[in-house]
Symmetry: C2
Subunit: 534 residues, 2 copies
């Protein structure tokens, strides 16, 4: 077992910055955790980005196969430190062992998915329009397109996914796959976890003889580090998962640069759920149990937590609400991720409870000796009229709290849908009699959310090729992209056209004979290489 030492990593070296020290806090016990971490500042940012810019010149020219093997080795290294992570992550986050095991597997799994995709090559978006010297009145040029990496990427670790959206999470994996060096700002609430994973990446880079500057990990608890990183001229793009305030602040900084850069911020959502009458008529209790599980799992601290439920007034909705209240009341209070999130949760629950026309229908089970940062589940209800009258009721409460809105009729439901902000997800529970209403809502919700799902819960985001973890503002700052799944790589690529470039100078993937056997489009038509025979 390797122990965290309290270091950052820059250009392959352990770095103890000279800034003020900070400690993580165990949200279960309230204890300050060791080791201390020193705050990185402008000097460390310059060192890390200069190393990243130098590494970019080498790393961007590595073959997809080289990067695939590197990502697979990082995945193996993360799996190998599973026991260390089990000893570290729960203390820093309050998350249970089962969740840590699952998230470790997701993290290594998504690294392996990008490795496989690197080999398939569709991400290169190769397009070849062959020339025609005989075309009249002017010869047709030979034009070939591929994608190139944008440059060093800054990644902000998220508090709520200490592995899958942090140091070696989806943003890092997709940027490294694209050929971009990564400078990570570790989330200050899990620095030791970040160090363990960062060390795995640093050691794997060295073992694969790749430039050490390809990866850096910087610790910091204040805003200065992030600001210095986003405004550094060597940084070409930013990946962020966190609060709306944080994402918007980084976006403003990035837009104000001499050369503006994109910030891919996944910020916030309430993930509305629509319980249609047929579904509740058929299985109100079952839906209620599923809802309570999704609402309170991981302490309700998931980007896709279903925070808002809409159901039409009626007996079946009453049955659902009673069952949901019972289920939520039976969920024990768990530790939230850190004291800041704990305070925001308490204030969010108070805001809901104090709102006009909002009734609290359940509070979670609380033991005598609760966690130091308690997340006590809470369920509220209100009417469609009140919901429409009070825009604050649609705001996210991060943690295990939700609001069930009892809607008067379908007209009011449509009015509510028309006023929804952009969302990561929207869910429908549908019975046999609900087809018409479901089809109508599907057609509306596909304009509101990045993912629409039926008869399930939005938490538990599958990492695959079709997933979209994104959505219209304010769910994200870049609705055309996803931060989970294969297409996440596209955020860190840019198309380049090569016109009449001599064959000897073309990059391999643009050669006529397709040596990497990647998927291509010839004159716009798909051209899938046959399997290589051995």
């Amino acid at each position: 077992m390797s122990s965290p030492l309290g270091v950052s990593f820059i250009d392959g070296a352990e770095v103890r910055a000279s800034g003020p020290a900070f400690h993580a806090v165990d949200p279960t016990t309230g204890e300050q955790l060791e080791p201390a971490y020193a705050e990185c500042g402008a000097a460390e940012v310059v060192q890390a980005t200069a190393a990243a810019a130098a590494a970019f010149e080498v790393y961007r020219r590595t073959t997809p196969e080289t990067r695939a093997r590197f990502l697979e080795a990082v995945a193996d290294a993360i799996d190998a430190i599973g026991p260390d992570l089990l000893a570290t992550v729960p203390a820093e986050t309050g998350l249970p062992e089962a969740r840590v095991k699952g998230e470790t597997g997701r993290t290594s799994g998504q690294l392996r998915m990008f490795a496989a995709d690197l080999r398939e090559g569709g991400w290169l978006d190769v397009r070849i329009d062959p020339g025609d010297p005989a075309r009249s009145p002017a010869p047709r040029p030979d034009v070939r397109q591929r994608s190139v990496p944008v440059g060093p990427v800054a990644v902000f670790g998220a508090s709520n996914f200490p592995l899958a959206f942090s140091v070696a999470g989806g943003d890092t994996a997709s940027a490294l796959a694209a050929g971009c060096p990564v400078v990570v700002k570790a989330h200050p609430s899990h620095p030791a976890t970040s160090e363990l994973v960062g060390r795995a990446i640093v050691e794997t880079l060295a073992a694969h003889d790749l430039p050490a500057g390809t990866f850096a990990l910087l610790h910091g608890a204040g805003n200065e580090l992030g600001e210095a990183l986003v405004t550094d001229p060597r940084i070409a793009a930013v990946g962020f998962t966190g609060s709306r305030g944080g994402g918007l602040a980084l976006s403003r900084l990035a837009a104000g640069r001499e050369v503006p850069i994109p910030v891919y911020a996944e910020m916030s959502a309430v993930n509305p759920v629509f319980l249609l009458p047929g579904a509740l008529g058929e299985r109100a209790e079952q839906v209620a149990t599923g809802f309570a599980g999704s609402l309170t799992g991981s302490g309700g601290q998931l980007c896709t937590k279903p925070g808002l439920v809409f159901a039409l007034d009626g007996d079946a909705t009453d049955t659902f609400l009673e069952a949901a209240a019972r289920a939520v009341a039976a969920v024990p209070t768990t530790a939230l991720l850190n004291p800041g999130i704990g305070e925001a949760f308490v204030s969010g629950v108070r805001r809901l409870g104090d709102a006009e026309g909002v009734e609290r229908v359940a509070e979670g089970d609380t033991a005598e000796q609760g966690p130091a940062v308690p997340g006590r589940p809470a369920l509220f209800t209100t009417t469609g009229d009140r919901f429409l009258a009070d825009a604050d009721l649609a705001a996210e409460v991060f943690g295990p709290a939700g609001l069930v809105v009892q809607v008067r009729d379908e007209d009011q439901l449509h009015q509510i849908v028309a006023g929804l902000e952009g969302q990561l997800t929207a869910s429908l529970h549908v019975g046999a009699a609900d087809t018409d209403l479901a089809l109508d809502l599907l057609g509306r919700l596909e304009l509101v959310a990045g993912r629409v799902l039926f008869d399930g819960w939005p938490t538990g985001v599958e990492v695959n090729h079709a997933m979209v973890h994104g959505g219209p503002f304010p769910a994200t700052t870049a609705p055309g992209t996803t931060s989970v799944g294969a297409r996440a790589i596209e955020r860190f690529l840019r198309p380049v056209a090569y016109q009449d470039v001599p064959a000897a100078l073309l990059p391999p993937e643009l050669h006529d004979d397709n040596p990497w056997r990647v998927f291509r489009r010839i004159d716009g038509r798909a051209d899938t290489p046959t399997q290589e025979t051995s």
Copy 2:
């Protein structure tokens, strides 16, 4: 022949706005042209965007085949008004008939390209990851992804492409192909051209029984109209081709909205050309003639005009410069597009001529009775030292003027390349002895420009599947995109994932049996439908 009436089009109706009147000016004669056009304002914007939002609900649900036929009919209609355009465009722009004919063909051609692509369906980006109810520990959900249109798009007509980047130009064609209604702000220097093309679209919409609100054309000469359009909450994205100042102003407005939207602005470039020693040794005269033609064609008013040339000091470069000076001196003064561009050109040429260490080596031929808005070709030269010392020398001069930089050695060349801003294009002229230097420069320039071309000139942008007309800031505000070619459609689409949606409710392109026979990815692997048998 139909005559322009001086009208805007909103929701299918001719509209005479109540704002102040303005007239286009014939830049050849200086005459004010008829008819007058009334400035549209906030009232017309609200009418047009409300109609567009209503039309979106219908238009976005049309099949790709329906939109393909519509785009083909618009292409036919534009070809059919060719004689009207020949009577109108030259007077409003000073552009010669041959250019108008060529641009008409390009405009209808790109509409037809999008029609063909709509049928092929790769743009839908369909990805299917089939579910597996038996997966342990949790069932694997069925996830299917497609692209949906973002909503009504505002398009700003460009002054320098009265057809191909204006009312029915690339932005409009790609947005309409994507399923987005379009509200065009016509460029005030060619309102009658805009009206003719706008009428062709309006009439084609009606003939195809598509919602009239799918297209609107608004006239205006001031900034208010554009500001109202970009800040209208119903507008979901903006396409713009024009000046850096204009693009940045629109971007700021869009970023400051309650819901920010993307501005796809193609703004400016000097399109550096690198003349390598071998090429000049082999064919200095030929290169010089080609350069003069590309520099001064269309009055030098193309986004891809090669405004900066770099060549290493030496005899061959002297030969090139002398030949280029002769060739430029032989080019007659032509009319520039409008008085504003004429004034900016005069001031840009004066700035270059007055700059320290810059020498004017040629002025174009000028007749006694020149055009009212004269664009007199001009060629300047300077040293690599001066170029590095004076950042203003790298700024675009819109019009037929260029600067040849005589570079001391390869080290200085690399220093210059490292300091280049983002560009639409970079060109290399290469001889047999230049391979190493060319490969090195190619590797650097692919990070600087959206298109790198060999032994040719950047003007004359091929419209095809592999073209990139884009590039790093400040060439564009969205380096991951292109405004010419098939991938332009991606700017107006957004991915959506459908999870466990019952087959009966899925959109057709996500059905297992692929009724539209579109290209798809199944579990990440390309799946090209076989040709349909009849």
